[in-house]
Symmetry: C2
């Protein structure tokens, strides 16, 4: 599981930052969180393949988050894509896509499933459960929390031995989740396994003011990608426009118990990236935060 | 007068080429020919200012030529533009912009004039006359020819002297276009000026198969920007899709008597740029052709 940062700007692009687009990579397939103008080309420049994109989840419908969709869909068609695509987002997503298709006269040679999501709705992407959580941006808006299912606990050979199971093929059967008969009684796998283990997880805030609901849904995630449009000195402007400062993003990550925070959606008003990171570091700790840059990537490992 | 190449790809972007957008720069103001996805960011990366763009002329409405419009208009609004903008293109441009505005819910703080053009229609940009010429791409499509008005001829001091005008303030008045009285008769400026001189000129083909009408309208231009989507080895494909090869573009430039040709709209199918230029060079001469690259710029000087 990897996160890729393809566009990390807020509102308007800059020479160094393309409009919002982050990717979740699982099993060689790609899910995009938002798809601002230029995302198809950012994908081409990155190590990801444009054609690996199977799902786009929109946080909301402001132009900077959605203007990359028509071009990407068209290019996939020109590249003779056959595999279906899914695009989902808050209320109005179906209408948005209808408008795009009609405006640009798109005809796609592949299936496109478009769906409006509500708070609590979910989908599955490459075995990962993703749920939508309502956020606060003054328009229909959603954040997303992606969690792998729980994994079985580790096999504990000493427990198996203590229950009289001889090392060898019976160990393998227990590890595969099957019960085994030993001396007239059955040993079940649960008896020789440690506790079930957390899957990997990632949360994406989209554009929002600090949201307790999002913090709660993102409990204990390995990686939180949170918008941090403005520096603390512009907290008033952040509040007016229903955005977050770096410090506010860090407080949400702290409240959620997130293991790592990436500050994303960086407005041109953030003139000093190091100071932006420092604002968050003062709350969550310097080892737990980074400012996203275009083409950054991050591997998410299992906790051990 | 300068031409800037901001996006030189054909159909789909590549890591090195953004979608179609070329700029005509006059008096510090900018006119765009086409506005594919990513054009606003290409402008920001270039030496041009996004806010200097006053006019966008569309060659046609295929997605790769127009998907950059909504984001650019939105960013201009976020930057508090007040100055009006003009967007013009072939039949359907008004409808296209209505679709974009309604799809993205754009509200702009500046005036936007949108107009459908027909073959022969014209506009003036910074004193430069621009006329639309119908091209051949299977959909409503236009090329554009921009010409400065004729300039007055050079002042010829020897002629003035021969007519009895003394060097000094009377020379200046003749140079400013005023008649002067000398020894009871009037000397008119035309009597002491050389022939009127050509203004500078540039022609932009948009997407088209080779078009005699475009060649004729672009007679004698200083710079022809012509699409050259495919190499000669794919002439069949070019014909089917109503595009041009590099050799065909060169033949159009030769027929028009263009002083220089830039090959533009380069598809990823063009694997060898040098060979692409060579195809055209064999027809028009190696000193008269170049393959456009993103961020190339070219100054157009007066002929002397």
């Amino acid at each position: 599981m990897e996160a890729h940062f393809l566009g990390t700007a807020g509102g308007v692009p800059t020479p160094g930052r393309s409009l919002p687009c982050s990717a979740l990579r699982v099993n060689g397939r790609t899910l995009l969180f938002d798809c601002g103008e230029g995302s198809q080309r950012q994908l081409m420049i990155s190590s990801l393949s444009l054609m690996s994109v199977d799902v786009v989840l929109l946080s909301h419908h402001h132009g900077d988050h959605v203007t990359g969709i028509p071009g990407m869909l068209q290019t996939m068609g020109l590249f003779s894509r056959g595999r279906g695509m899914r695009i989902m987002g808050p209320e109005g997503t179906v209408e948005l896509l209808e408008g795009m298709m009609s405006t640009y006269g798109e005809e796609l040679p592949y299936g496109l499933e478009v769906r409006d999501l509500e708070d609590g709705d979910g989908l599955v992407f490459e075995g990962v459960d993703i749920s939508a959580v309502a956020t606060e941006h003054g328009v229909p808006s959603l954040g997303y929390v992606a969690r792998e299912p729980l994994r079985p606990g580790r096999f504990l050979p000493e427990k198996a031995r203590a229950l009289g199971v001889p090392e060898g093929p019976l160990f393998s059967r227990l590890q595969r989740g099957e019960g085994v008969s030993v001396g007239g009684k059955t040993v079940e796998p649960e008896e020789v396994m440690g506790p079930t283990r957390e899957g990997r997880s990632i949360a994406y805030s989209g554009d929002t003011m600090p949201s307790p609901r999002f913090a709660s849904a993102a409990r204990d995630v390995d990686l939180m990608i949170h918008e941090a449009t403005f520096p603390a000195s512009m907290a008033d402007r952040a509040a007016e426009s229903l955005h977050s400062t770096a410090a506010q993003a860090a407080q949400v990550a702290l409240d959620a118990g997130a293991r790592f925070l990436v500050l994303n959606h960086i407005s041109p008003r953030v003139e000093d990236e190091a100071a932006h990171a420092q604002e968050a570091a003062e709350i969550i700790g310097a080892s737990k935060v980074a400012v996203a840059r275009d083409f950054d990537r991050m591997r998410i490992d299992y906790r051990e």
